[in-house]
């Protein structure tokens, strides 16, 4: 947990205080934490594709860290607008990128909870439940789509990664190798 969650968080924090070339700091942290969460989600999805199963523990940690970074991403957005609650309500009702953002965040919560033993014991089907990660990923792609002005580079990049992961899982490449 230390390496996977706290280290990038510490690096990001040091950037904000030490790198005076970051001009719009609030926007920078909000964007960075969002992208870190997405990259962690990609790792969470890809790690089980590897032949070596000993990495299983880490997969869970990446998933949990992805959740923490999305929460920070969301909290920073709230702080950024906290002095105007009407703006937050307006965003939640009318802005597509915010709506799909909330959906992704809400769906992450049951996955987060069932990564702990207490809830795993209560919900035996937790593995099936975790399939909603694909829906979360889709909402995140929509989240990016709705905020882009013209340059779709990162959307295409993360959509392609998503597609490759789905194809690899579909054909069960990793299971054949087990």
């Amino acid at each position: 947990m230390l390496n996977i969650f706290l280290l990038p968080l510490a690096i990001l924090t040091s950037y904000i205080f030490l790198d005076d070339e970051i001009i719009n700091k609030t926007s920078y942290v909000i964007t960075s934490t969002g992208y870190i969460a997405l990259v962690y989600l990609v790792i969470t999805l890809s790690l089980p594709l590897l032949k070596n199963n000993s990495l299983k523990v880490k997969t869970r940690l990446f998933g949990i860290s992805a959740f923490y970074f999305s929460m920070i991403h969301f909290i920073l957005y709230v702080i950024d607008n906290s002095y105007d609650l009407t703006l937050i309500v307006e965003d939640a009702l009318f802005r597509n990128y915010i709506i799909v953002g909330y959906l992704a965040l809400l769906l992450l919560i049951p996955m987060y909870l069932t990564s702990f033993k207490y809830f795993k014991d209560k919900i035996k089907e937790w593995k099936k439940l975790h399939k909603i990660i694909y829906i979360v990923y889709f909402f995140i792609l929509a989240h990016i789509y709705f905020i882009i002005k013209a340059d779709y580079y990162y959307l295409i990049l993360f959509s392609s990664i998503f597609l490759v992961i789905i194809i690899l899982k579909k054909y069960n490449f990793y299971k054949l190798n087990e």
């Binding site: 005076d20 070339e21 001009i23 719009n24 609030t26 926007s27 950024d80 607008n81 002095y83 105007d84 703006l87 307006e90 965003d91 802005r95 597509n96 990128y97 709705f146 905020i147 002005k149 013209a150 340059d151 580079y153």
Partner: protein
């Protein structure tokens, strides 16, 4: 003989001594000069007057903020990209052709813009469509001077501007991010408004490449993307010209694109803005605070339709 005594033939002749000094001085000066030329190729100081009528007395953003947080997609779509790729914009032998429905078709070069027109400092607010803003001390001259020079005919109703097109060198133009070359336009009465200027510099010096060197438009009551950078063509036309952002998303970026807190972008609010360097967002003002000078241009127009 004490050790402090020198023989006459060991003493350098005064004339020679001074010559040596001069050589060292001039070579030092020369190397400093070439060095500073490499460092600050755009660092020529401009001669200008200070405008009091239209300038704001708000605190200006720093040179660093203004030159390292830019939207200039030709040099990359990230905010730092234009600064990082600045040298990829080649402004040597730059010319701007002025034509269309005019009596005098003229082509001006880089130096013409600095020497032919009365430069003044205009400290303007700049509001980006992405809901952030800055205060910039531009150096430039009213677009009116170009209009007078070109003498538009009765047919001219709009001005169409075109920016640099150099896909071989400009990283952003290697992909079809926007309809290249970047295009913008103004209605003739908007262009004639004394607030509208062509800028050649900021903070008393020539524009850095990332800010739209060697010459760019500044229309302070409109969203930043209307203020087209690195202009190569100015055409007076009869019909409303195409603009790049309007071609990209017609329902999001209209021809007018006046700053208006009451008309939100379809995907985000325009009620507030972050002044770069401040933490709390501030209210966005109608026409970016320039309503007294420009509101009359849009009398009788439905601004929710003509956004």
């Amino acid at each position: 003989m004490s050790k402090y005594c020198l023989k006459e033939n060991h003493v350098t002749d005064e004339k020679l001594f001074n010559q040596r000094r001069a050589i060292i001085k001039s070579s030092l000066a020369f190397s400093l000069l070439t060095f500073s030329n490499i460092l600050f190729s755009n660092d020529k100081k401009l001669i200008f007057s200070k405008d009091m009528k239209y300038s704001t007395n708000e605190e200006t953003n720093t040179f660093k903020q203004i030159t390292s947080y830019n939207n200039f997609y030709e040099l990359g779509s990230g905010k730092r990209d234009p600064m990082m790729n600045a040298e990829k914009l080649n402004t040597d032998d730059w010319t701007v052709s002025i034509g269309g429905e005019v009596k005098n078709k003229v082509t001006l070069n880089k130096d013409d813009f600095i020497n032919k027109f009365p430069l003044e400092e205009r400290i303007y607010r700049l509001r980006c469509v992405e809901a952030w803003s800055m205060v910039v001390p531009w150096i430039g001259f009213e677009l009116n001077h170009i209009i007078k020079l070109a003498e538009p005919t009765y047919k001219a109703k709009f001005i169409a501007f075109e920016s640099v097109y150099d896909p071989e060198n400009l990283p952003g133009q290697k992909r079809n991010i926007l309809a290249w070359p970047y295009r913008e336009g103004l209605r003739l009465d908007e262009a004639r408004n004394p607030l509208t200027i062509l800028s050649v510099g900021l903070y008393g010096r020539m524009l850095p490449n990332q800010n739209g060197s060697p010459i760019r438009l500044i229309v302070p009551w409109k969203y930043g993307f209307k203020s087209i950078k690195s202009i190569t063509k100015i055409n007076f036309v009869e019909k409303m010209p195409d603009t790049s952002w309007n071609l990209e998303a017609p329902n999001e970026y209209g021809f007018y694109s006046n700053v208006n807190p009451y008309v939100s972008h379809p995907r985000w609010s325009q009620k507030r803005e972050r002044r770069i360097g401040e933490f709390r967002k501030r209210d966005t003002l109608m026409h970016n605070g320039y309503a007294e000078h420009v509101a009359h241009l849009y009398e009788g127009m439905d601004l929710t339709k003509n956004f």
